[in-house]
């Protein structure tokens, strides 16, 4: 199994703000990050839905702003660089410090749609010399590695809405197996553009609650009617437990289990009864050496689509005889696609460290198809073992186990 892995730093850029603190407080307080779309005119683009969870600040203005260069970085890369800078500083690291050993530091940043908005803006014209590097999926990982001087393993999973979770899973394995001592890992996406929103709109995957944006994203609620697109980035600093101990760093949590599966079923719909996700959670718990009964909290993927949530509920009910408290942050933050799993990993690590489970926003009416104990108020409780799940188009699943340290 190799070395134990802990989380020593967190960074978040979400619809609730450009810091972990802003997001955490907003989650606790039940603040919605949703509002009318401002990044473009949905009506002019022929889009029916007019609600999204946009990041409210320009990432190029997030301190230290000299790291984010919007002339060469796509918006998805800007988010990742800002979140990584916060995570690395939060871990107590300064890449300019002589003790920073770049060859032992890896980078693993996933993205679902990456430079979709950049490609859309550039289409039909002669591309500028900097176009391609503003849009490639791996350029978030590339820019993060340059900003923090990380010369170890470098990767960028593109596994849709599981990308952030998969990036962290692979980074955990890098640390376990000694390929790196520290990995800056997470996910990022910035797809609130005519093509990004329009793609989900035409699939009829979006909520139609334009008149009440704050109530639109409703994980597991009986009246959910589709997802609300979000954006942003979540980054965690993963580190060998011994390495963290030697420098007296205080971890948020340990990551003790990782797992990935494929549904081999359908391009958009999860497998019947959520069997792909069920196998993924079972693998992940097995990797952690934990019994389902030991799990205290599940951070669910919960896209808030009618079918997606029902299939996930079926998966959770088949893994757990008596499901533990379940939450989702998508009611607050919308669905940030490839960033979602990474944002949620940072939230779960903070939740385990603080002993507070953040509430699920907009869960009002129990759906018999989603018979789960959904938590709707901040719950002060000791969480020894937490599971976070992700699932993406193409039938790709991921899960992580976090434990209290």
């Amino acid at each position: 199994m190799g070395r134990d892995v802990v989380v020593t730093g967190l960074g978040l850029v979400t619809a609730l703000g450009e810091t972990v603190e802003a997001t955490w407080q907003g989650l606790r307080d039940g603040t919605s990050g949703a509002g009318p779309i401002t990044r473009f005119d949905p009506e002019a683009a022929g889009i029916r839905s007019n609600v999204a969870c946009e990041v409210p600040v320009d990432p190029a203005t997030v301190p230290p702003d000299d790291r984010v260069d919007d002339r060469v970085m796509g918006r998805y890369a800007q988010f990742a660089v800002a979140a990584a800078a916060e995570a690395v500083a939060d871990a107590g690291y300064d890449p300019a410090d002589p003790d920073w050993t770049p060859e032992r530091v890896g980078t693993s940043i996933g993205s679902g749609l990456a430079g979709l908005a950049e490609i859309e803006s550039a289409a039909g014209e002669r591309p500028s010399p900097s176009f391609l590097v503003s849009a490639l999926t791996n350029l978030a990982a590339g820019h993060v590695s340059m900003c923090v001087d990380a010369r170890g393993p470098n990767r960028a999973p593109g596994t849709a809405c599981s990308a952030g979770t998969h990036a962290i899973a692979a980074a955990v394995e890098d640390v376990r197996h000694g390929r790196a001592d520290v990995v800056v890992a997470g996910g990022t996406d910035a797809a609130i553009s005519p093509l990004g929103v329009g793609s989900f709109d035409s699939m009829r995957a979006l909520s139609g609650r334009d008149g009440d944006p704050a109530a639109a994203s409703r994980p597991f609620d009986a009246d959910r009617d589709g997802l609300v697109l979000g954006e942003g980035s979540g980054v965690v600093v993963l580190e060998a437990r011994d390495h963290a101990r030697e420098r007296d760093a205080t971890p948020y949590a340990a990551v003790t289990g990782v797992g990935r599966t494929g549904d081999a079923h359908h391009v958009t719909r999860p497998a019947e009864d959520g069997t792909g996700l069920r196998r993924c959670i079972e693998r992940t718990l097995s990797d952690a050496g934990r019994d389902p009964a030991s799990v205290d909290h599940v951070n669910a993927h919960a896209t808030s689509t009618p079918v997606g949530d029902a299939r996930e509920a079926a998966a959770l009910r088949s893994v757990f005889d008596d499901p533990p408290p379940v939450t989702s942050v998508k009611g607050h933050l919308g669905h940030a696609l490839g960033a979602a799993g990474a944002i949620e990993a940072a939230v779960v690590a903070r939740s385990v460290a603080e002993g507070t489970i953040p509430p699920t926003l907009n869960y009002e009416t129990r759906d018999p198809e989603c018979a789960l104990p959904v938590v709707t108020d901040p719950r002060e409780t000791v969480t020894d073992v937490a599971v976070s799940t992700s699932a993406g188009f193409g039938g790709t699943n991921g899960a992580l186990v976090f434990e209290r340290v």
């Binding site: 035409s202 699939m203 009829r204 359908h266 391009v267 958009t268 719909r269």
Partner: protein
């Protein structure tokens, strides 16, 4: 040809085109779930989006769940065109 017949013809062509079926093999009795069309939910959304763009009639998800044959869909659209 009446307007209604013309609209029915357009809807039937959209169905055949989107599902890559032989137009001559598609008639009002053809079931969406049968061997000829073998449509699944994403196909039905594609067809509904194409009808909205071409004929200007919105077919909501609730209606898509109730149509079982091509005739059901052409009736729904022709009644609202």
């Amino acid at each position: 040809m009446s307007d209604t017949q013309e609209i029915r013809g357009r809807v039937q062509r959209i169905v055949a085109d989107r599902l890559r079926a032989d137009p001559d093999a598609v008639d009002p009795e053809t079931p969406f779930g049968g061997e000829t069309l073998d449509a699944e939910s994403l196909d039905m959304v594609e067809i509904a989006e194409a009808i909205e763009a071409d004929v200007g009639v919105h077919v909501p998800d609730e209606a898509l769940e109730t149509v079982s044959t091509v005739g059901d869909l052409t009736d729904y659209v022709a009644d609202r065109a």
